[in-house]
């Protein structure tokens, strides 16, 4: 276990690698936070949205009269009132040339296509008055048939979500001779797995404040992507980009749900423009459950061909991916991020990935922690356990027969990626030992032979993922509209203090701390003397923001590169100060000194002051050490690990209890072990939540029945165990820090580990799958149906 190292930095050569307590904590543990909902401004008015209670309906009329007459109301509008100016919410990832991207007005004009879609809005003096008046908006709907089942949606005669039909796109990747691989294959496993729909559920509901000053606008939003949001607001509304400033203040978690350009943000901007007043909207949780984009929701049809010894020949993946009612920012791209990950850490001769995006009358889906990779990892790791059971081989042994050996890196995979480094043997060996794998296997078989009612199951997940999104060229080849670079600036202040400006936009990740550690090492200045600035397009003007485990890998490298530029500028000035040639100086621990005469040197702080005073700078040297760097990665990074889960399953009640969970992760070089461990814990918890607890469930009319936290079961402390975590390290060769990213690893790894453990416990009952979430009822039914066979 890692706790704050009180001596971190004291007499230490390196900050990177130290368990530094977080700088962010000072405000977060004392309530001095700046959440968007805390913001008040003179003349601020509050917005309430009226949302469709129906999954699918035509809007016959919207009567705003009573709402407009209500006390404290400034204005009320329907979608028709904004039809000319509201534009269409953006989809930045048209994955195929013939993709159907339906028009997506922020406020529905004539048809609603999911329960929760905005149909009207009311602006009033306070949130209570706005909510009261919203109740008075009288909308008449003409019901249409909901479209709830992806397979039915694709059949002839299905009701249509959009005029163009219910299919958005089909995208395919093929490599190798699939037919040859399946022909005469000694073993073929065919499975259909489901990825249930999930609600990301960041603890901070969304909120937005937009203030007009003349024809310029400042927006505060609980967003992961202030920079992308600014560009998109300009494109959607036509308001010039340079007249928009977007600020992401303290943001309370995202997990992909705040990687979005939302109708509420666009409408807040348009309302601020129309009313000439600052406007504010804060989401209620129940509103958010229907209106924030959902995650996952796939049907996975899988075929795996193997030799008799378990060597994989080929994998054939056919996905149906539920887009929901509209394509949002990266909706169609999410399942495609899995296209490169179904083959995981395994070698094979042929591979096909085929994905069809389907429209339904449900809340749109989009990125949720892992985005495409958890789905892929779940499928392949479940299949590996199934294949092992089919062959009667230990599932770890089977994996070892198929995985890329550590001496085989760099390795070009069947899906077209090149993994730079990894050591699956090392991570697995460490995990087996911590888990007491052999002992647990023994206990498991004893329970089977003793016919115990509480069975033991062991689940395995030897996962990898692609992080550090992303090389811009690769994104371009996949038809994503933007790049994957990140930006950083270093500002050397005259007193030797340092401001680090990053384009990443943290919302719980601890960038203020980790970036300070990196810069402390790079410039040889104390951790305490560094301040990290982020999340405001006026302060950090360039950025691609935070998602996809990208910030350290891409943004961290940009910081390293910017620091290098600072050092090189400082070298020239130091040389002049020391009356030496720049070539005769060497950098050591924060100062440039004359090689061979270390007493003759200038610290970066002294050089910064000299640059500030600028009295004696060499000709042609600018009086500033400040530097910028924009880094575009050449490749993704590939964290991996081995997670092992032991569950006890009460075969009489279906109750599952996690008995132990071991996670050994290889995330490359660790900047702050405290933060990394926290990310792994939280990631595992979210993956466990998918395996055991959470599901966004709809009734047959298309109503979300898990629309509040009373119905959507986010696990509490009482529902989860403690996890045993450890690490192995193979530094990434793709960036100067050797880092790989950790934000999503736990979530990607843990869902299959838990489900595999449950299925493992139940295989003696003839069970080969339990649909997620594996509730007691589903586990019990699986046992009954398995036994009946």
């Amino acid at each position: 276990m890692t706790t704050v190292d009180a001596k971190a930095g004291v007499g230490q050569e390196h900050e990177v690698g130290r368990a530094r307590g977080r700088k962010e904590d000072a405000r977060l543990i004392t309530g001095q936070t700046n959440w968007t909902d805390n913001i008040t401004l003179p003349g601020l008015v509050h917005v309430a949205f009226v949302r469709s209670p129906y999954a699918h309906a035509r809007i016959a009329s919207v009567d705003l009269t009573a709402a407009r007459d209500a006390p404290g109301v400034f204005a009320a509008y329907s979608g028709a009132d904004f039809a000319a100016e509201q534009g269409s919410l953006p989809c930045a990832w048209p994955v195929t040339p013939d993709i159907v991207i339906p028009d997506h007005p922020p406020m529905a004009v004539d048809t609603v296509r999911y329960g929760g879609e905005i149909v009207a809005c009311v602006v009033a003096r306070d949130r209570y008055a706005a909510a009261d008046a919203a109740e008075l908006v009288d909308v008449t709907y003409e019901g249409l048939d909901p479209v709830l089942d992806m397979e039915a949606a694709l059949t002839e005669g299905s009701p249509k979500v959009h005029e163009a039909g219910n299919k958005s796109f089909t995208w395919e990747l093929v490599n190798g001779d699939l037919d040859a691989a399946f022909r005469d294959a000694p073993v073929v496993i065919e499975r259909t797995y489901g990825q249930q729909r999930l609600i990301p559920s960041a603890m901070e509901p969304r909120a937005v404040v937009c203030a007009p000053v003349g024809d310029e606008y400042t927006m505060w939003s609980a967003t992961q992507i202030p920079h992308v949001l600014r560009v998109m607001l300009a494109l959607v509304t036509g308001i010039p980009e340079h007249k928009l400033r977007v600020i992401a203040p303290d943001v309370g978690g995202g997990f992909g749900s705040k990687l979005q350009v939302t109708g509420e943000e666009v409408l807040a901007l348009l309302l601020a423009r129309k009313l000439g007043r600052p406007v504010k909207w804060t989401e209620s949780r129940s509103e958010g459950n229907v209106a924030v984009h959902h995650g996952r929701d796939q049907i996975q049809q899988l075929r795996l061909a193997a030799d008799a010894d378990g060597r994989i020949r080929a994998l054939d993946v056919h996905l149906l991916a539920d887009m929901g009612a509209y394509l949002m920012l990266v909706t169609p791209g999410v399942p495609l991020l899995g296209a490169f990950m179904f083959n995981a850490i395994y070698k094979m001769d042929a591979y096909r990935f085929n994905c069809t995006g389907v429209f339904t009358t449900k809340t749109p889906t989009d990125a949720y922690r892992g985005a495409g990779r958890p789905e892929a990892t779940y499928a392949i790791e479940h299949l590996m356990d199934d294949l092992a059971a089919e062959l009667g081989v230990d599932p770890l042994e089977l994996r070892e027969r198929n995985w890329i050996k550590h001496e085989e890196f760099p390795y070009a995979t069947i899906s077209g990626l090149t993994y730079d480094t990894g050591n699956y043997e090392a991570a697995t060996a460490t995990a087996k030992e911590l888990f007491h794998y052999d002992q647990l296997r023994k206990e498991q078989s004893e329970r089977v032979s003793g016919d115990a009612t509480v069975r033991l199951g062991i689940g395995i997940s030897t996962f990898t993922e692609m992080c550090g999104l992303a090389p811009s060229r690769v994104l371009g080849s996949l038809a994503y509209a933007a790049g994957g670079w990140e930006h950083a600036s270093i500002r050397m202040l005259p007193t030797g203090k340092v401001e680090v400006v990053t384009g990443s936009s943290a919302h719980g990740q601890g960038h203020e701390t980790a970036w300070s550690q990196i810069v402390a090492d790079q410039l040889g200045v104390p951790f305490e003397d560094i301040r990290v600035l982020h999340g405001d397009t006026a302060i950090a003007p360039k950025g691609m923001d935070t998602y996809g485990s990208r910030s350290l890998v891409v943004g961290g490298t940009a910081i390293v590169n910017a620091c290098d530029k600072v050092r090189q500028k400082a070298r020239v000035i130091a040389a002049a100060m020391l009356e030496a040639s720049p070539d005769d100086l060497e950098w050591d621990a924060g100062r440039w000194a004359v090689r061979g005469d270390p007493d003759q040197g200038k610290t970066i702080g002294e050089i910064a002051f000299a640059a500030f005073a600028a009295h004696d700078l060499p000709d042609g040297v600018e009086p500033s050490l400040d530097s910028d760097a924009t880094y575009d990665p050449d490749n993704f990074s590939f964290p991996h690990g081995t997670h092992l889960c032991a569950v006890e399953v009460d075969t009489e009640t279906g109750q599952v209890r996690i008995r132990s969970y071991v996670a050994v992760d290889d995330v490359g070089v660790v900047v702050n072990p405290l933060i990394v461990e926290g990310q792994v814990h939280g990631g595992i918890a979210q993956g466990v939540a998918q395996a055991l607890y959470e599901e966004a469930a709809y009734d047959s009319s298309g109503n979300l029945v898990t629309a509040s936290l009373a119905d959507y079961l986010i696990p509490s402390a009482a529902d989860l165990p403690s996890f045993t975590t450890s690490r192995t390290t193979t530094p990434s060769t793709l960036n100067p820090l050797g880092v790989k990213g950790v934000g999503e690893a736990g979530t990607i790894a843990s869902t299959p580990a838990v489900v595999n453990a449950i299925v493992d416990a139940l295989r003696p009952f003839g069970v080969s799958d339990v649909p997620m979430p594996c509730t007691p009822e589903r586990v019990w039914r699986a046992i009954q149906e398995g036994t009946a066979q």
Binding site: I29, T30, M203, S716
Partner: protein, 160 residues
């Protein structure tokens, strides 16, 4: 209605609507925005404060119910000179927060938990914090922080 309530040591006499929730009163009239709102069904506990020393979800209490009472929020927990409460310190030391949105409520609930049970087991901590949801940490470090605050340090490793 007229209420008189002491918030973090300061007395406020205010007119409030009978339906005003305590959390909205604290945030919007008393200016104590350190207490956030995470849900509308009393499930998440982000808005937990102490009401006469006992933890309550301030979204489930009307402002008028706090008439004559003393409310302590996360902003009133540190000492007069700004020294952190042992629970705040423990949350920092154990990295028991990431985004920090649940943290004020979690800390207030944990303070009350130790008031009832100064030396809880891991299981008692987990059960005691059942009404406070966190999406970032997986709770492990929160549990460790509460045990650390209880014991002055973490006596035993929480993990297996």
């Amino acid at each position: 209605m007229r209420i008189s309530v002491k918030v973090d040591g300061v007395r406020y006499d205010d007119d409030v609507e009978p339906r005003l929730l305590l959390v909205h009163y604290l945030r919007e009239q008393a200016g104590r925005t350190g207490t956030p709102i995470g849900c509308d069904t009393s499930n998440c506990g982000a808005c937990t404060v102490l009401l006469n020393g006992r933890s309550v979800k301030s979204c489930s209490v009307l402002a008028v119910q706090a008439d004559g009472a003393e409310v302590t929020t996360i902003q009133g927990l540190a000492g007069d000179a700004g020294e952190l409460h042992p629970m705040q310190q423990a949350f920092h030391e154990e990295h028991a927060l990431q985004c920090g949105y649940c943290t004020p409520g979690m800390i207030m609930a944990a303070v009350d938990l130790l008031g009832d049970n100064p030396h809880p087991t891991e299981e008692e901590v987990r059960d005691g914090l059942e009404g406070n949801l966190c999406r970032c940490t997986g709770y492990q470090n929160i549990v460790r922080a509460v045990l650390r605050a209880a014991n002055g340090s973490v006596a035993a490793e929480v993990t297996a």
